[in-house]
Symmetry: C2
Subunit: 325 residues, 2 copies
Amino acid sequence: MTGRICVLCGGVGAARMLRALVRVIDPAHINAVVNTGDDTVMHGLHISPDIDTVIYTVADANDPDRGWGLVDETWRAADALGRYEPMRPAGSTAGATWFGLGDADLATHLYRTGRLAEGARLTTVTDEIRRAWGVGVTVLPMSDEPAPTEVTLGGNHAGERIAFQDYFVRLRHAVPVAQVHLGATAVATTPEVCRAIDTADLVIIAPSNPMVSIGPVMATSGIRERLEQRRDTVVAVSPLIGGAALKGPAADMMRDAGHRSDAVGVATMYAPFAATLVIDTVDAALADQVDDAGCRPVVTDTVMANPEVAASLARTCLEVGRRSG
Amino acid sequence: MTGRICVLCGGVGAARMLRALVRVIDPAHINAVVNTGDDTVMHGLHISPDIDTVIYTVADANDPDRGWGLVDETWRAADALGRYEPMRPAGSTAGATWFGLGDADLATHLYRTGRLAEGARLTTVTDEIRRAWGVGVTVLPMSDEPAPTEVTLGGNHAGERIAFQDYFVRLRHAVPVAQVHLGATAVATTPEVCRAIDTADLVIIAPSNPMVSIGPVMATSGIRERLEQRRDTVVAVSPLIGGAALKGPAADMMRDAGHRSDAVGVATMYAPFAATLVIDTVDAALADQVDDAGCRPVVTDTVMANPEVAASLARTCLEVGRRSG
């Protein structure tokens, strides 16, 4: 009975949500619009971390312990790269080994880079890659254009402006962020994303970092206004549970940016374009404040620790959407 | 007693010659000028096949059976790339798996590509790579500029013009070549190569393919004229033995181009810039014709089947050079 749905996605949290959704409804009815603000070029290769996490996870090929990359991965290329790192001159970052490049994962970057060099759109290449993995969900980059997220650091690094992966992986997001700069503000989304939103009966905002995962998607020209116009059928899932993210720096980043670092803070950010916010049972006491912030609260288990909870969360989102529509 | 030497190099044959030379004289006195006409960009990565063969071989890290790449190599990335090959549209060559990319070898391409993207010269990057491998020989690309060798095919492929690696690896050089196009004719060599030739007491032309290995080096502006001016102290080693190359299509290519496909043909090509040609004992009967073609013949074992023969060949070249100088 459920029609088409469109899911706005970051990395791990969104990927788990999608994996649950494909077990509840036909994947052919799902479009995933994925953050590309984390995309980077390393060693000449175009890397799309969130797209890969989504595809690998829906394909059940992700490494569940590491949280990124492929299961049963090997690291010969990365190990061999270590030979060159000491040879590079001061100021060079070539051969850097802090960004994990598994051998099998490398193939994805090689293929993507080769196709982009031929002039293919990232949307086209992404579709080829998800089909190669037998993924039935349509996976759409938020834009075909580069839209790098950067951060200006605080603390001991005050004033330093670096690329997102530099902060997130190299510095292990252990440094305060003074400001987030979204390259997405300068780019437009694609016809495919517009169509995915316009034809969806329900839009789900996955439990991803509001600042640097959902933030770039919403900042991409053409997306936010589409959601605002249909906010009654937009359901978001709070990535903050008991004032913390399951993974990553979302809570710290929101606090550093002057937001409340809990479900109420998420509601305040999302209220203009999402009528409903699904919050975790541990945050049941925040329901009234979420309501006051402008989102109708729906309370349920949101920690997708096992397939049953994940499926239940997916069903809840679909039911909420059905009631709204 | 031997001063500085400069060796003009292609791939495997030259690499074996260099490995023998470093056992006979101080590697710090050897400059290797290497063909980059085979260089290619695959999957966004800059690949320099002859440079890598030379460095890996002198480092004793090459695979002796395969003839290219690293020993004890693994192929996870290449195998994983196979997943994508069927997904690419007609006309695309992305994700092609015919060019062997070992996992450890990939690290070399990743580092080189990253450094070139930072604006480093190929000469600089090559020096970093050879030092990372503990190679004492200075390895110099013939040029910092792209100088792609292409071939126009004959036979069933008549008229098709393709990149060298396409012909050499993908088509396994099993197709007649109607014409060789040297991108090197449009580029200049480097100050480092000029200095290496100018300061050498002896120049050795390694036993490499005269058409597509030594040909590009000699076609690079600044090299041929330097050798012509000092041809008395230029010693070449014939890559053709009994009218055939130990490896590769040299004999067929020379025949297709209208040359004799034997040591006499090599002498005719090299006489303007090499006073001496070392030929194999099986070609002793050709010595007079080599002389008539313009090169003083030196007859010895040239098949470097074991370290002793290789060292003996290296010593012969050095002695010939000493007598000439």
